[in-house]
Amino acid sequence: MAEKHHSLIALLFISGAASLLSGCPSFSSRPEEPSSSVTSPPAPAPKPASPAQPPPTAPSERPLPPPRENRLSPATRSLVNQAHALLARGDIDGASTTLDRALRIEPSNPLLWIEIGRVRMVEGDSHQAESCARKALALGSGDHAAQNQAGHLLIDALRAQGRNPEAHEIESRPYMH
């Protein structure tokens, strides 16, 4: 059990460090197809309400929203680093509490929710890890790098619950490539 934890911790630590080091992701290509939302498929067009029907505007005419990039503030980053160090020592509760502090500073930063989800995975709480991953996906909308990390976490969480088909479906999402 402890050994399993340690290898997991090491893995997470490395992936966390890699995510920190990767810094600024490139946004050269954004998928043309709107990616379907995790939780709801796009709704069909509503019934037209007005008899006057000038040419409707097609979505392709509108410019895509600018890509977003989430970063951790220096304060939260230092806490995240601290949490990684605690995790590496096997202090899961300490890591959790430290991330809790960071959450008070940046409660809607998707990168932080990914970190929290990773700790939940180490604790063996794949349901909370899944929720954190989904929240990070929602908060990270438009941020390919953040969504990619959240997607990996979500896949891990789903697999841990034996929900392989759903995990497989996530793998095909645009942000996973």
């Binding site: 000038p54 979505p59 806490l79 929240k135």
Partner: protein
């Protein structure tokens, strides 16, 4: 003859001796019994140290919205003294906007931090730099968590027990000088003092002096009733003697100071100088000055007779008499006594650091989440999510606004009541709870226990249910027209708009913003009551609402706390966060008994919630909450919903910024008509609270598969931002919207606003404005 006589005497002697022996034995057993009782009680109290309850520590970092003055205020909140940091932990120096702080040794949930010197700079708006005095980097630093109270988690009594080291010398000397001059000499009973008291009483013909020692008073507090009989006096004296035989003077004195009755706050008895100090002066015992200490000492003689709030004159006279006697006993000098006697009573204003409504929530969460056996351990520390600044802002807004609103409300001469809860919606942390107008009083906690119809606060759930079906968007036109429904019991239900008007075809966005009842009922019936109920349950409603059409207009009853739970899901993209007041409980060694992690759950699809949020952002710009703007920082973007129950019995506002979610209720305790809509009653309280918290704008992330578009507020047709009455809404990406022929969207034909339509809109809007 003589022989029989001496035999008789012998018999009498024996009988007397045996009787004496028996009496002595009985007396001995009685004393042993008393001894047992008194030591058990003393030990029990002695060791029943309450759990200390802490607010969340303030996190400091570069960019934190804390001015230099704010920072100093926060330092004072945790009792740092301006001076020379070299004097030791707890001191700081401020030069201009630069602070040098010698931080104390302090226990947090996750670490025991040793004293450390830090240098912090702040400007008029925020913290600009931080470093360790030793030169090291300091990206983030937290202040000591403020103590907000103490609870006996099992029996719920709340007391601020002070440790011997924390009792000021003035109080120790003072209480002895006034209540028991020979405390250090006697052995529990002061025979000389009793005789003197008896002499005084006999001369006066009534009981003037009790003559009880502090030890006797302590025993009386532990066990005995107030009746004045010889038997009781004897028992008291015997117990006092036994107590003194077992414990030191210091232990007895401190126990007395923690036990003595100092006043009554509603149903709550104020026991002990620690709590008394907080209750009357809102400061820790160590910070009381001479006149404040004298007042508390004076109260011992008769807490209700000298109640400084009810009888300030009597209290002042009593305090000054105590000061005079302290000077005579050389505890203080004459000059100090005279100077202190010239000061006013200086009672704390309502509120302050004592937060009974929040502690109440903490107590309930502890009871819900912890095993009783765990909580009986001594010296626990309870770490909560309370944010003292948010709490103070909410208390200020409730007390000030309700005072103003009393004059506007329907029942003249009656007192409006109110409640407010503030939470951080992502984590579910409850940061402030106000249970009523008398914020420092432990009374009926309306924030948790007042369940009232929520009125239109329910509407976002109706629109969310509609959008989730995929058949509605914010631009869908709905008919706002009279509705008559035959209910199962045969009666006819005919709801009306608040203004008793009808508006024809209106976009859903406008129907929600202006809280149109008829259009909402139309949507709700189309979507189906079970679907709306299901949406409410997903959002976090515990109970199952009755499937009655009037449910669409908010007949469902909820407490402000329950509303907060539902709105967390709306405020953060459809993720329900479990509300959290207690973060962790540590034992006396600093080990966590249990900690509460953030818990989130997907409650509703992010894309649908975002579309509703966009509509709720129109409530303050175009709808029923327009009056908030005047009270809020210019340009602050908020989202929310007003609620008014039938005949304005309940006035609600639930809304969020980028920093906080808050729910406010205003109404009468006896449920009478207030004459106040949600906008007139609860909204100002909400807005004033937020305004003083410097929140950031609400800026939800646009989810995948949804896009922001501009439509006409009145006709729902797509238009461009510069067109009249253009409002921004969100729809599923690629939704086809009819375009406005006279003022087309930016990417379509050139805009050509129609002046007549514009004028009509303006008049209509103007009319709306004066009606509201």
């Amino acid at each position: 003859m003589a022989r029989s006589r001496s035999r008789l005497w012998r018999r009498i002697f024996f009988a007397a001796a045996i009787s004496l022996l028996l009496i002595a034995a009985a007396f001995g057993i009685w004393v042993v019994h008393l001894d047992h009782l008194v030591t058990r009680e003393f030990q029990g109290r002695h060791w029943s140290v309450p759990a200390h309850v802490y607010a969340a520590p303030l996190e400091l970092y570069v960019g934190a919205a804390l001015s230099a003055d704010d920072l100093e205020e926060e330092l004072h909140r945790v009792h740092y003294h301006r001076g020379d940091p070299a004097q030791g932990p707890g001191n700081y120096r401020r030069v201009g906007n630069a602070f040098d702080i010698e931080a104390r040794r302090v226990r947090f949930i996750d670490e025991l931090r040793e004293p450390v010197r830090v240098s912090i700079h702040a400007d008029a708006a925020a913290i600009t730099s931080m470093r360790l005095a030793s030169g090291g980097d300091l990206p983030v630093f937290r202040l000591d968590p403020p103590v907000i109270g103490s609870v006996f988690p099992i029996h719920g009594e709340d007391r601020l027990v002070v440790a011997p080291a924390d009792v000021p010398l003035l109080l120790k000397k003072g209480i002895k000088a006034i209540e028991d001059r020979r405390f250090d000499e006697h052995h529990g009973v002061d025979v000389l003092g009793m005789m003197r008291a008896l002499w005084v009483d006999l001369r006066a013909g009534r009981v003037v002096q009790g003559g009880s020692t502090l030890t006797q008073q302590l025993v009386k507090n532990y066990f005995l009733s107030d009746e004045q009989t010889i038997g009781r006096k004897l028992t008291e004296a015997a117990m006092a003697l036994r107590l003194e035989a077992h414990y030191s003077k210091e232990e007895i004195l401190v126990a007395y100071l923690n036990e003595v009755f100092l006043g009554q706050d509603g149903t709550r008895a104020i026991h002990g100088f620690g709590l008394g100090s907080e209750y009357y002066f809102a400061k820790p015992l160590q910070e009381l000055d001479v006149q404040e200490t004298a007042l508390l000492i004076g109260l011992v003689k008769g807490p209700s007779y000298y109640d400084p709030r009810k009888h300030p004159e009597r209290a002042l006279t009593r305090r000054n008499l105590v000061l005079k006697e302290l000077a005579e006993a050389r505890v203080i000098d004459d000059k100090t006594a005279l100077r202190a006697a010239a000061t006013p009573l200086g009672l704390r204003p309502p509120g302050g650091s004592y937060v009974p409504a929040y502690i109440d929530l903490v107590r309930r969460h502890l009871k819900r989440d912890y095993a009783e056996a765990d909580l009986s351990a001594a010296g626990l520390s309870v770490y909560t999510s309370l944010d003292p600044r948010a709490q103070a802002a909410a208390e200020r807004a409730i007390t000030q606004d309700l005072q103003r609103l009393d004059a506007r409300a329907a029942q003249k001469g009656s007192r409006l009541e109110g409640a407010q809860i503030i939470a951080e919606p992502n984590s579910g942390d409850v940061v402030a709870v106000v249970g009523g107008r008398d914020v420092g009083t432990d009374g009926f906690n309306r924030a948790l226990d007042a369940r009232r119809p929520i009125g239109s606060l329910v509407k976002p759930a109706v629109y969310l249910a509609a959008i989730e079906t995929g058949r509605y968007t914010a631009a869908t036109l709905i008919e706002d027209a009279p509705i008559q429904l035959k209910l199962p019991d045969g009666s006819i239900w005919a709801p009306q708009n608040f203004e008793r008007d009808t508006n024809g075809m209106v976009p859903a966005a406008r129907a929600l913003a202006e809280s149109l009842n008829l259009a909402t009922v139309k949507i709700g019936l189309d979507v189906g009551l079970p679907k709306v109920a299901e949406t409410l349950e997903h959002l976090g409603l515990d109970s199952q609402p009755t499937l009655n059409p009037s449910m669409l207009l908010g007949t469902v009853e909820m407490s402000p706390l329950e509303v907060v739970q539902i709105y967390t899901s709306l405020a953060n993209g459809g993720f329900r966060a479990r509300l959290r007041a207690v973060r962790a409980v540590l034992d006396d060694k600093g080990h966590a008994l249990k900690s509460f992690k953030v818990q989130v759950e997907a409650a509703a699809p992010s894309a649908a919630v975002y579309q509703v949020d966009r509509m709720m952002m129109l409530v303050p710009t175009r709808g029923t909450a327009r009056e908030a703007a005047a009270r809020l920082p210019k340009g602050l973007i908020i989202a929310g919903k007003t609620g008014t129950s039938s005949d304005t019995r309940d006035s609600w506002f639930a809304g969020f910024t980028g920093s906080y979610l808050s729910v406010v209720w205003v109404g009468y305790d006896d449920n009478r008509v207030t004459g106040l809509t949600g906008a007139a009653g609860a909204l100002p309280v909400w807005a004033d609270t937020m305004a003083s918290l410097k929140p950031v704008s609400y800026a939800p992330v646009t989810p995948d598969a949804v896009e922001d578009r501009w439509i006409g507020y009145l006709d729902g047709m797509e238009t461009s931002a510069s067109c009249p009455n253009a409002v921004e809404i969100a729809v599923p990406t690629g939704t086809v919207l009819p375009a406005n022929p006279s003022c087309a969207p930016a990417n379509g034909p050139a805009p050509n606003p129609s002046p007549s339509a514009t004028a009509g809109d303006k008049i209509k809007q103007w009319l709306k404005n004066i009606i509201h």
